[in-house]
């Protein structure tokens, strides 16, 4: 069975000598490829009785045995009577093994590939099911939140504080830097246009309104979705794979109480605070650029900012943040709970959580814009 290299040199082949089919070469997994593809086109002897001569076989493994079985089958399907001769006992044993009903059954059962229509149906029903699941998760979370409000002693403060730190304080450098750069970009883009009309001072309006009303809340939410929303999905997903979620249930802790509510509360506190911080840094970025490109000094800029911005502009931006926070936390946790089975699923769900939460944040932002416009704020 383990041939020396010299014996194994020849590829598996069949030679047709009169009414006999002679098997030659090494019938091993590395050497049967050519024969396997040729098998259907071989001109078998026309005789009714065929002998397969196996004494010249120098090696055979299960792959070779399977090919030999195919030879047998294709001869027999032509109505011939086939007998084997000269096959070594161990090769015969292999041939018997691959012909067991289990194997034949396994092949017969190979499921056909689903049709395009079926695949579309599977995707659609999956989408609907996920929507329903999401809704029921939101409901479950709301019910848990209500219970927590009725019994404030059950609120878990420590995870809330921990999450404020990890989602808020730890995100300060990256959020600050990005919003500062965004302020610079806006002032820079505006500078060319404003200079043309000699309206340099209005750079304060441009930067102030854009940052406070739209960009700070949106940018902060996107950064937090990428930083914390994904972490929530990965954390809960991993806990699910390692059965920690089930363990929590068995010791009498409601997983939503411990894992979801603190995150929603913490993010609803942290995200508005981060947004205020982002407002400041964004305006600062605009100020630096205004001084350099438009010769608008800091005092003039700040003076103009007071006239340009009302309290409502600030509140509109900050008001969106808790909604974004809830979206990010709920989507992240929901996707974490959707993890089933293996590590790969954790990765997939984490990706989905980021994509979905950013998508929903932007949709919510668009809805807010329409609403505020209708209300004239």
């Amino acid at each position: 069975m383990n041939p020396t290299p010299a014996q194994a040199e020849r590829d598996a082949d069949v030679e047709i000598v009169g009414g006999d089919v002679r098997c030659v070469g090494a019938w091993t997994v590395a050497r049967v490829a050519g024969l396997g593809t040729r098998l259907d086109r071989i001109g078998w002897p026309a005789a009714n009785e065929v002998v397969i001569e196996g004494s010249a076989l120098c090696a055979m493994d299960t792959a070779g045995a399977w090919v030999l079985r195919r030879v047998l089958k294709s001869l027999e399907s032509g109505g011939r009577r086939v007998s084997l001769r000269g096959l070594r006992t161990e090769h015969e044993a292999l041939l018997r093994m691959v012909a067991t009903p289990d194997v034949v059954d396994a092949l017969a059962r190979a499921a056909p590939k689903p049709s395009a229509l079926e695949r579309i149906g599977v995707i659609a029903s999956g989408g609907v099911r996920q929507g329903v699941d999401m809704l029921s998760f939101v409901g479950e979370t709301a019910a848990a939140a209500l219970q927590a409000l009725l019994r404030p002693a059950r609120i878990r403060w420590k995870p809330i504080l921990y999450n404020i730190r990890s989602a808020g304080v730890d995100a300060l450098p990256i959020t600050g830097l990005l919003c500062f750069l965004m302020g610079i970009v806006i002032a820079y883009q505006g500078a060319t246009q404003l200079r043309r009309y000699g309206a340099n001072i209005f750079v304060a309006d441009l930067v102030g309104l854009a940052m406070l009303r739209e960009l700070s809340p949106l940018l902060t939410a996107i950064i937090v979705a990428g930083r914390s929303g994904s972490a929530y999905a990965a954390q809960i997903g991993t806990m699910k794979v390692t059965e920690e979620i089930d363990a929590l249930r068995t010791v009498g802790i409601v997983p939503i109480d411990l894992l979801v509510l603190p995150k929603i509360v913490a993010l609803s506190i942290a995200l508005p605070l981060l947004t205020v911080y982002a407002d400041v840094l964004g305006v600062a970025g605009g100020m630096v650029m205004a001084k350099k490109e438009l010769a608008v000094g800091f005092p003039d800029f700040l003076d103009r900012l007071q006239y340009a911005l009302g309290l409502s502009d600030f509140l509109v931006g900050i008001g969106k943040a808790p909604v974004f926070a809830a979206i990010i936390a709920v989507v992240g946790c929901f996707q974490g709970f959707q993890v089933a089975g293996d590590a790969e699923s954790v990765g997939r769900r984490t990706t989905v959580s980021v994509v979905q939460s950013i998508f929903l944040v932007i949709v919510a932002d668009a809805v807010f814009s329409v609403l505020f416009n209708a209300l004239g704020i």
Binding site: A33, T62, W66, E90, D102, V103, D105, R109, A110, G341
Partner: protein
């Protein structure tokens, strides 16, 4: 198929291997030899360096010093390119299966075939089905993903993948760990059956006493980074080494031995 005993060169030969992780000495001069055609087991307490030695033999870890020859080639310091022909000639079943989660069982088993041979897809699927049936998995398991299988079925699927290329040498890492007694028993028979049918040489790492008594031809017993004894289980059970004795004459060891005697 009985392979010739005391063949010219052992199929696996480990000589004076020393391994350290930082300050922790894992192997302190380990030597052993596996003969062609036998079932060789490496036993010992948890954490004594069994699995690390296995990883060194299959080129997943480099020892600090010593020599390891597998299928006639020195593997210490071997590059990936040179290791390829060796890797085609052995199959490895990992403790937790190591099945690819994104592939079905059939695709998992077919992967080595697709990678290393020029067989057409139909033949690969058929050979994969043969291997799956050979390991005793029901035919319905072929289209399933590893997460949908029970622990015992996953081990069988991993075994099917390990023998996909009809290797000369099969490595099993804790083949029965995490199985219920009945499944573990089934696995014993499966290993014996495959060895006879495919003429494999099997190197396994285990602390399953039933497997050691029932299947292994020879056993090496590892204690604190050294081989404390090599031989058949009968020989080892007469060893004077206190740690080896403890292993065999503890309550579990005695039970397994009595079972093995009854079966003989």
């Amino acid at each position: 198929m009985e392979a010739p005993r005391h063949a010219a060169e052992p199929i696996v030969e480990v000589r004076d291997v020393c391994t350290r992780f930082g300050d922790a000495v894992v192997h302190d001069g380990v030597s052993l030899a596996v003969r062609e055609g036998e079932v060789f087991a490496l036993a010992g307490a948890s954490g004594c360096g069994k699995s690390t030695l296995l990883r060194e033999i299959i080129l997943l870890h480099q020892p600090q010093s010593g020599s390891i020859r597998v299928l006639g080639r020195e593997v210490v310091g071997l590059g990936d390119e040179e290791a390829l022909p060796l890797r085609r000639n052995w199959g490895v079943m990992f403790e937790r299966g190591g099945l690819f989660g994104s592939l079905t069982v059939r695709e998992n088993v077919g992967l080595p075939l697709r990678e290393h041979t020029s067989l057409d897809d139909r033949l690969i699927d058929e050979i994969a089905a043969v291997k799956i049936a050979l390991t005793g998995l029901p035919s319905s398991a072929a289209a399933k993903y590893p997460v949908e299988l029970s622990g015992g079925m996953r081990k069988r699927a991993a075994l099917a993948r390990a023998i996909a290329l009809d290797p000369r040498l099969l490595f099993l890492d804790e083949p029965t760990a995490g199985l219920d007694p009945l499944s573990a028993d089934g696995f014993d028979h499966l290993v014996k059956h495959l060895k006879e049918l495919l003429g494999l040489t099997i190197f396994m790492v285990t602390h399953d006493l039933d497997l050691l008594w029932g299947v292994a031809d020879r056993v090496a017993f590892m204690v604190e980074g050294r081989i404390a004894g090599v031989g058949t289980m009968q020989e080892l059970s007469k060893s004077e080494q206190p740690l080896v004795r403890e292993y065999f004459y503890g309550p579990r060891g005695r039970g397994a031995r009595e079972q093995a005697w009854k079966r003989r």
